[in-house]
Symmetry: C2
Amino acid sequence: MEKSRVAIVGLGTVGSGVARLLLDHGDRTARHAGRTLWLEKAVVRDVSKPRGCDLPAGVVTDKLEEVLNDPEIKVVAQLVGGLEPARTIMLRLLEAGKDIVTANKALLAEHGPELFDRARELGRSIAFDAAVAGGVPIITNVSQCLSANQVESLQGILNGTCNYIVSQMDECGWSYQHALSEAQRLGFAEADPTFDVDGTDAAQKLAILAHLAFGARVRWADIPRTGIDTLDLADLNFAKELGYRIKLIAHARLDKAGLELSVAPTLIRSGHPLAEVRANYNAISVIGDAVGDLFFHGQGAGQMPTASAVVADMIDMAVGRTPITFRTLELWSDREAKVDLRPDEDLPGRYYMRFRVNDEPGVMAQITSILGKASLSISSIIQHEPPKPSSGQDRDATVQLVIMTHEASEGVASRAVEQIEALPVTIGNVVRMRVVES
Amino acid sequence: MEKSRVAIVGLGTVGSGVARLLLDHGDRTARHAGRTLWLEKAVVRDVSKPRGCDLPAGVVTDKLEEVLNDPEIKVVAQLVGGLEPARTIMLRLLEAGKDIVTANKALLAEHGPELFDRARELGRSIAFDAAVAGGVPIITNVSQCLSANQVESLQGILNGTCNYIVSQMDECGWSYQHALSEAQRLGFAEADPTFDVDGTDAAQKLAILAHLAFGARVRWADIPRTGIDTLDLADLNFAKELGYRIKLIAHARLDKAGLELSVAPTLIRSGHPLAEVRANYNAISVIGDAVGDLFFHGQGAGQMPTASAVVADMIDMAVGRTPITFRTLELWSDREAKVDLRPDEDLPGRYYMRFRVNDEPGVMAQITSILGKASLSISSIIQHEPPKPSSGQDRDATVQLVIMTHEASEGVASRAVEQIEALPVTIGNVVRMRVVES
């Protein structure tokens, strides 16, 4: 049987998983690629470090040149994280004539145009199904299986760390801080979780999906994003009372007014498949104008789910499918429309709002009259009786008020909230989130 | 831009949808294929019949020869249903040098070996993503995206007609007959629904998936199957009481003892994604040893969802991806293992059983002693008080008894049921279904 010689650069968690699949399960690549993917080299920084997998003698090296200078190695899984030296390694591999598979979404989000242009100039290809949603093959599905469709909308839970934290807050009544510590203890969150919890990671993935789904050149930093780091348990509980769950949703919608992209905690009606996504899972709901609604759910990270996506890409690359896709799609190329994001002001949406106000007569009238003048129609209201004060304590002189609106525009809703925040009876900032029905 | 000339044979519901996508949305095929898919011919039986789409002059013809003899037409969507003349048309198209896209799963299930062998001999390819689960791209996902995995199990709701009927029975309390009539009125069921409701359609789709997921040559007729046509509302209600829903599940599982395949109404625990699949949707849950569990959900039939899958296949064919996949997978070839299905006798499973018995002392002891001797451990029991008789009527002298077992083997369960059916206190046959937890 024919042999395709391949290499791995970076033998961390995912790299070790890829090595295991290639070394222990050659029968699979043989069956699906009609050839063996032969692991020739694995490049690491420190050859003395113990690895999670046994590699045959001579495979591990700390010299990238051994890959660059071996013309028999055609496909390389580049699994070094971060921006540098990952970017330089990618460029050197391309210049040495290698096709590359990568799981590094931050690198693509930041340097995609440069890397893809360079690959095209050199007649090389880059595959990256593992870069978004890990084991869920959303890249192939959007770029290949949905090619007869205009994607109309795409909503995803793309960050497993955030979904774990929010699900635990929701199901166990934990605070954000406690859920984050547990996520860190279990290895679902990094020691510095900033880029996960502030929505950066989801925005980078959404930018990649927007290229594929809408043929749109989008910079991830232009996507408005709110993380889960300011999420309050009170809102999860009120949402539940209203028949909703809160999830960190990466949201894309195309209509005549343009493309809307955002990442934010969002209320999803219970029973909607996205509302039921638990633990550290990822899920994506896509609506195409021909296919209707499609839903994908699976492991968005982790050693073997990510390795599964990397090796599938390596097979696609070795047999020649990826180069075809790469040539036809021309991602991050000048051919792609430079789509301007739709201005926030006009975005339609329903809103959840929570206010803390003084518990005195006339407050409800002041608030609802602001909403009424803005033509913001109320769909439901919750105000609970204040808890009975413990003996010796004063009664709390403030109450929480939750209002769900009917559809309005972002501009109208944000101006109304500003006015309500300016009322003397309002304490602190108003919490506001979008609501998704279907 | 390059043009790939294509043709459609059969301009029914799906064919008209395919024509619409090709004619009205050439920009999509251009973007995803780097070329225009140009609809040159649409072959119909009766050119005078009105169509659901406007076709340019000269496209519609009743002569297959106009496609066969045009060497410029390379890709043909063969959308004639049934076995003949569909089989003959497929063979003539292959012999004329065409690559074929089809949605005809009955044809593949029955004549797959012949058609695929002939295609290979002639250096041609057949694509069939639309043949299983309509708009849900499960064929591409299993054969391409999961190629680094050994699929361990696959459970699907593959027949939208059955899912509609069962969902309506479950949610509205309708009888099977009433739900079937409604399905027919809405166009979700054919005038003769036999092959849908008796499990044939789901078994044919499962046979195709088993080729892709397990590399196993399976004849659909060898797959044990039970339809929904004997499903009783009482069982849906008892299942609900126990925290389950009943769905028609196409089930595949591989373990050391072999491959298990079946189609049958099955109890699925509420909250499991398959339990929540509503209306005429399809869904598939796949477990791969690397990727873990993946779940796909969408429209399994209908004009545009199916057309979406057909056109995606036509694009894959025109750009050259499908020919690669077709060559490497060697489906229905001698290279595929002739896998023997695991004998029913040894299949492990939990069971739901419903008995009608005489309402007299000692009955429960007789039944539970049979189960006990068979080492069939009981996980829960329901026996409701008999309804109060209307005035003038005798009290019903029988009661229904529902038992859920812990895990046992199919052989043990079926022998115990036979013994219980033979008891003088038992009336009629015992209803027995498998139970899925996760």
